[in-house]
Amino acid sequence: MSAIDVVDQQQAPAGSRVRLGGFRGLSREAKIGAGILALLFLAGLLAPWIAPYGQNQINFTDIYSPPSLAHLMGTDGAGRDVFSRTLFALRLDLAIVVLVTYPPLVIGVFVGAVAGYFGGIFDATLARIVDVTIAMPFMVLVIAVIAIVGPGVKGILIGVPLVAWALYARLSRSEMLVLREQPFMLATVALGYTTRRTIVRHAVPNLMRSSLIYSTLDMVANLLLLSGLAYLGLGAQPPNAELGSIIADGQSAMLTAWWVSTLPGLVVVLFGVGALLLGDGLSDGKLRGTLQ
């Protein structure tokens, strides 16, 4: 019996060790990454309650004061508390990042799965559309959309999903091509399940994995894009704080008040590190357990 069990462990398909929702099954780096992300999301979510000052609370008697207990990240040129502004910026940015990352993921995964399952002309057409979409210069497209709808988050909310779904579609399509040849897919048909059930309930949970891992990378890219656009003044419009615009504001005082740009910048870095650790940890998850 034990010999068979060993074989079973080896044949366990990738991902079977990782149970979404089962935090204890994750590798150490995934746990750290998840912890960092949870902290940042919580901070953003609770910003209105935990921020010591208002995001636009101006105090001209206290400009460019260095980090202290009263102002954890110091104050900027208008005497605004950078920590509070960063919290509010985080709140806005993370909301946008999630909005431009996950709805396209759902659409892309589904479209890719359907195309991969049925193949044929539909699949060929979709593959070409995906190629075109991915080949499109992303930044230029988003800026073009902003040029049409005007500066602000609306441009990002429209422009990013327009392109982002394509990579997920390609990922999930290629996984589906492998998956649809699996005997268990045949078995679902033999059990008389509908095609929709076969795809949605049996195939998608198996092919979500690569897309979910990629989505952590995508979130970081989207946050950087968002900050970049805000830095250029194409993101959320003042006085709303965005990580990129805080950094841009502080840039002129970089030599005298380094904290205004640097500390929010570190928050962006922290988010990136957290998301990548999580993604990396998830994709290595199969190495956890008895065979480690």
């Binding site: 019996m1 068979i4 069990d5 079973d8 462990q9 044949q11 366990a12 398909p13 991902g15 079977s16 699996q182 005997p183 268990f184 045949l186 078995a187 679902t188 048909v189 033999a190 059990l191 008389g192 399940y193 509908t194 059930r197 309930r201 049996h202 949970p205 198996n206």
Partner: protein
Amino acid sequence: MSVAPEPVLSIEGLRVEFDMPFGRLVALRGASLSIRPGEIVGLVGETGSGKTLVCRSVMRLIPQRGRIADGRILFDGRDVLAMRPRELRDFRAHDVGMVFQDPFSTLNPVLRIGKQVEETLRVNFGLKKSEAQTRAVELLRDVGIPNPERRALSYPHEFSGGMRQRVMIALATASQPRLLLADEPTTALDVTTQAQILDLLVRLSEEGGMAVVLVSHDFGVIAQVCDRVAVMYGGHIVETGTIEEIHDGAEHPYTRGLLDSIPRLESAGRPTRLPVIPGVPPDPADEVSGCVFRPRCRYAQPACETVSMVLEPVSPGHETACPVRPFAVADSALTARAGARL
């Protein structure tokens, strides 16, 4: 045997072709088979003879590029090949079950065992969640999963091959189908597990009056459990009969060759060469006229080039596609002796 009841499944002249880029392959050339309710029929033959394809044709699960070019499949009088999608789905869900060869990949790796059994109960029978849960545990217990309440929460990779095959059987028989197609269910398992799985199939067949088609290339497996055997060669069913008829009085030279090539325990210690059938199985790309076995047959006659491979009765229930009957004399003597003894 009393009056033969109506067959639950009858396959007539089934021809399956694959249109490949390099030409047409004929995988089934005209297979005919009928299965009565509650009967366990073994389908034997070498690799590539079309055993699996017969099962997949019944389920209308022909691999890509393949199509059923000719023939009829009647289930309970209903024409399976003419079923519309909805009817076909209902047929797959309720009337037939299928167990596949490789238990390691026929269960969805990301869903718990219990969930997978529950799903078929909920989808195909409209059971409520709680009912389905109870019934799923019952089904798992019924196929011999120890401690089913706890094991229902396991994932497939936590099960051994034999256990997974039991789960697959539970899934396939959850609907209490009238016919179970078992496509080499024990090939991937070790011998002791194999015997348990076969016992399970026999028990389920007896309890539910379920007919079983047991595909195997192992005569030992077939002899252990089957009432009747159908021997396949080159996309044809060349002989059918009861285990005894086939084992003791095979009429088709291929069946004899197949039986002769089984290593026997009696020869242990006295090395003997196993007789083999010379030649190779027919290439599915070739269109063979007459008997497909002719090129390899020791008893081939010129007339064999024109015979149609139709099963002709030897005795009630025993049919062969060989019109030459090279063994008829010896066997009639055997029957005569047996008759005299009675």
